[in-house]
Symmetry: C2
Subunit: 344 residues, 2 copies
Amino acid sequence: MIMITIRDISRKCGLSVSTVSKALNGYSDVSEKTRNLIIETARELGYIPNAHARALKTNRTYNIGILFVDDQNNGLTHQFFSHVLNGIKSEAENNGYNITFINRRWGAQTITLLQNCKFRRIEGVCIACVEPDDPEVQQLAASDVPVVSIDHIFKDRGCVLSDNRNDMAELVRYVHSMGHKKIAYIHGTDSYVTRQRIKGYVETMKELGLEVRGEYMLESLYTNPLTTRIATEKLLQLEDRPTCILLPDDVSAYGAVEAIREAGLRIPYDISIAGYDGVLFDRLMSPRLTTVRQDADRIGREAAKLLIYNIENASQPRMEPVVIKGELVIAESVGPVLKQLVSC
Amino acid sequence: MIMITIRDISRKCGLSVSTVSKALNGYSDVSEKTRNLIIETARELGYIPNAHARALKTNRTYNIGILFVDDQNNGLTHQFFSHVLNGIKSEAENNGYNITFINRRWGAQTITLLQNCKFRRIEGVCIACVEPDDPEVQQLAASDVPVVSIDHIFKDRGCVLSDNRNDMAELVRYVHSMGHKKIAYIHGTDSYVTRQRIKGYVETMKELGLEVRGEYMLESLYTNPLTTRIATEKLLQLEDRPTCILLPDDVSAYGAVEAIREAGLRIPYDISIAGYDGVLFDRLMSPRLTTVRQDADRIGREAAKLLIYNIENASQPRMEPVVIKGELVIAESVGPVLKQLVSC
DNA sequence: TATATACATGAAATCGATTACTTTTATTAT
DNA sequence: ATAATAAAAGTAATCGATTTCATGTATATA
C-alpha cells in the first residue's frame, strides 16, 4: 500500500517539510499563498497523514479502549451492553476518538490488560460488564490510565451508574400500589448492581410496612431463563406463595413465564411478574412485560463523555458518579391483586 | 504517563539500542549472556514497547477494522451481528490482531471510510451489516485495503455467506413435509441475503409442485415486529389464507404472533409460522419458534480467519465465498396441517 | 540610509523503535 | 604467529510526522 507523505508534498511544492506540516496544521507563520498551494497539492496527491507517526510525536492516539466481558461470558452479545457499546461508540466518534477493544495479547504472547493499554498507548478505558475482582482489572483500575466504569465503583475513578436502588424502589412502590403485599424478588448474582437493587427492594418493603421474607428472596443468574425458571418454581411451591415476582432481567423473565405457564397459572390474573432492563424483549413478550427500562445507550454516551473529559483534564478528573435514572414501563404483566382473587 | 523505552534499557545495561532491540526480538547475533541481561533488565524496568513506533517502522499495525451499520441503524444492537462481532473479535485476538471500528472522523473533520483506514493504517476491514451501495463502502471494497464481507459479495473480494438459499429450501421442504401447501413468505427488504432466500423459497416451492402466489409474498423490514405484523394481518385477511407463514427473522416473528393472536388464532393449531436467525429469541418464545439457526459466532470467526489470511497473503488472496450452513431448529410453531383442520 | 520589527521559510532534533551495514572481538585454520 | 572466519556489538539511517530554533526577506521606524 503506497502512501503519500508530507515529504512528497514538500518535494512537489519545492518547500521544506516543516513548512508543509505547519501549513497543514494551521500554524500562522505560513503565507496564505503557500498554504493554499500546499493544501491544494495535498488534495491533488491524495495525502493522508499517518496516525502512528503523529501519535509517536504528539503522544496522542485518540484511541479509547473498551473492556467488555461479563460473568456469563455473553460479552458483546449481551443485549444491555451492546446498547451501551453503541452509545460509547457514537459519543466517542462524535468527539474524534476511536473505539478499540482491550485484550490480553501482544502478538503470540499473553500480557496483562494494563500492558495492552500501554503498548497501544490507549488514552482511556471504559470498563463495562466485567468481573471487577479480576486482579488485572483491579490493576488497570488502579493504574495511571484514565478509567471510567459502568455500574461499578472503583476507588477514585469516574463511573456511570444506573439508578438501581431508586429504580427498584419505584418498581416496588408501583407493585404495592397495585395491591401486592407478598412481593418476591429473584435477584441476580452478587455485584454492585445486585446489592443496590436488593437495597432498594428491602428498604422500600420496610418503608411500606411489608414483611421482608427470606424465602421470597432467591438468587439466579442474569440473562439466564433456566436458573430463573427454577427459582420461580420454588416460589410457586411455597405454602404461602407470592402474588408478584420481581425478576433479575427481561431475558430471564422468560424462564419465569414458562414456570408459571407450566403451573397452569395466568399472568397477570393469577400472578404478576416484572422484569428489569427494558431492552427490546419487554415490548415483544406477551403479555407485555412491566419492567424498568434502562437507557443503555445514554449510559454509554455519558460514560464516553466522562472518559473523554477525564482524558483531556487529567489533572482534575471528575469522580462523582453520574447516575442515570431508569424509567418504569407499566405494561401488562403486573395486575391488581383484587383481580387475582376474583379469578380464582 | 511516563514510559520506559528501549533507550532506558540500553543505558542501564551499557549497551547500544540496536543490541537491545535485537535481543528483545530474538535475533541470533546477540550472546546468550547479554540477551539474558537485557531481558531481565526490561522486566525489571517494566518495559512495554510502543506499538506506534513499531508500526511506523515495520508498517504493520495488527489492527483490523470493523464496519458495522445496518439499514435500520440497529448497528451493534442487532442480535445477529453482535454475535458476528463477538466471533470476529475472539478469532482476531487469538491471532494477535486488534479490533477497532472504522468511522468517518479524523478529529473534527469528516473523511471517507477509506481515508480513515489509511490514516490509521488499518490492515484489513471486515464489512458486516452495511448498506453495500453506499459509495464510500463501494470505494473501500474496491480499494487496496484487504476486505472481507459478510452476507454480501463484492467483486474480487473474500466473503463469508450464510447458506441462505439452501437453508431456506430446507425450511420450505420441512414445512411441506408437515403437510403445508399454502406457504406464504414475508421476506425482508431487498439485499443479497433476501434475494438468496427468495430464490430458495421460489425454487423449492416449484420443485415441490407448489404454486408460487404473488399475494403470498410480502415485504417487511428486518427485525421490525411492526411491519411484519402489518404484513401478517394482510395475509390473514386473504380469501384463501396460507396455512404457514415464513418470516424474515425471529424478532419480527413477534409481530406475526401478535397479529395471529389478535385474529383469535392459535399457533400451531390454526396456523403455523417459522422464523429465521435462531439467536436467543426462538428459545424464549412461546410456543417455541421453529427457525433456521445461523451460527453467527462461527460466521464471525471465519470472516476474521479469512481476512487475516488475505492480509498475510496479499499477493494471492482467497476470494471463493466461505459458506456457513444454518441449522433447521424444529420446535413448536410449525404443526401438521391435519391438526389444523381438525381443530376447527 | 541604517536599524528594528514582523513575516515567512528552512534546518535539524525528536518521538521509539527496526535494520542494513560496519566495526570490533574472539575463534579457528594455516 | 598470522590470516581467515565467525560471533557479537555498535553506528547510523529510517519510518512520517511535529516543533523549536535559526535564518533570510520584506516592511516599518528612526
